[in-house]
Subunit: 126 residues, 4 copies
DNA sequence: GTGGTCTAGACCACG
DNA sequence: GTGGTCTAGACCACT
């Protein structure tokens, strides 16, 4: 799987890594059990610091997307669940985004179509 | 309209204000032409810094949700549009969020239902 | 509240800080709403690095013992709960410790008495 | 007796081996005089390093749970005692664990019941 | 080789 | 002033 880091983005690097790995899982490019590049490897590949990579990996571990295998390093797992807390935070997170789109004149259908398009990419991939 | 600020959220206060005003417009609680509380007023109501409120208002002005009226202060307007740039950024913003939900085992329908629920609140309100 | 760091201990410094703050809460020395010393303050007080302190604070935040207030910094909260996951990890954690004590000839009563002594210190303090 | 190694645990493998052997003694599955599998044997059974197994065995020997017999290899013994040093370290070890449980709202009785449940498994087994 | 911990020091965002 | 992010580089534990 290929990561792409935008250094000029206002999204922190560790967050870009985190997001892209989750997207990689959603798109089926990363399967349960897959080993990720080592912290140092990824850091040197992108010319970033190993702590930055570690932060991304650790968050993913906390959230249940990764495990640390004592020999293999970080490995894709699937412990993350959509519990009530998550659903709540999900709503809270997309609420302002959808409100913004709606205020700009997009219709409910247009917005839902975009969501659906994105979700279709994930279908049967996880 | 009533604002609610969470000082212990990881979302900056100016962003909370910005989001809630947009949500207020989406929900029909703020109509075109409505005057917002003055920067001083809002800042003192919540015990926050003037700069914080001004930053929120200025962003909303830049995005076309507010206008500055010489006497009335900040006034709700509706110049914000969903141009290609916005659509692009919208997709980029929700992509990782939807991926996360999908990876946690939510189905396409479940996710879309949540989006729809939110959007229904806005219906016929703008 | 006073922290004591043992630099020669094989327990990582961030873990010592984490443990002592939890103990401080258990002993009633830290109450909900109390503000902790700032990361930089604590780091300089003990001559340790601010990242070390931050790591301790961040773990406590993740576990629900602290919140970050945008003006006050890290603040004691009480969101940590003893859910099934915690109970499970608790059992897994003390199992080998109790087994060790038992193998060394301590009786059930002796071991339980020590546990009780410790717990009595916490009574009516949280 | 059967060992179970979790490669994705944050507990080092040598520590898992050490703990499980002590637990085996506490549970009566390992009696004084029993011979443990050879280092080579155990290492190859689990696909782990010889050093890892040896480290676990050596610690157990240092603590008085094992003896090295010239022909039989590592043999269970019962020289480990609960001296003051041990009691002290025991208290220090469980103190933060019990504090954590208490802070999460568990009562003294609930916590003691869990300890007792564990200890009951060991009863009349050593 | 892997990750885990810690340091020293920088710049930025926020309020 | 607060915390958040990132860097560069060190040493250690584990396997």
């Amino acid at each position: 799987m290929l990561l792409r880091i935008e250094f000029e983005s206002d999204i922190p690097i560790y967050m870009q890594i985190k997001n892209q790995i989750i997207e990689g899982i959603a798109l089926g490019m990363l399967k349960e059990g897959d080993e990720l590049p080592s912290i140092r490897q990824l850091a040197s590949d992108f010319g970033i610091n190993l702590h930055t990579v570690k932060k991304a990996y650790d968050i993913l571990k906390d959230e249940g997307f990764l495990n640390v295998h004592r020999r293999k390093g970080y490995v894709v797992t699937k412990n993350a669940t959509a519990d009530d807390n998550f659903i709540e935070s999900l709503k809270k997170e997309i609420h302002p985004i959808l409100a913004n789109a709606y205020c700009r004149g997009m219709t409910q259908d247009e917005i839902l179509r975009i969501c659906k398009e994105i979700l279709e990419q994930f279908k049967n991939k996880v």
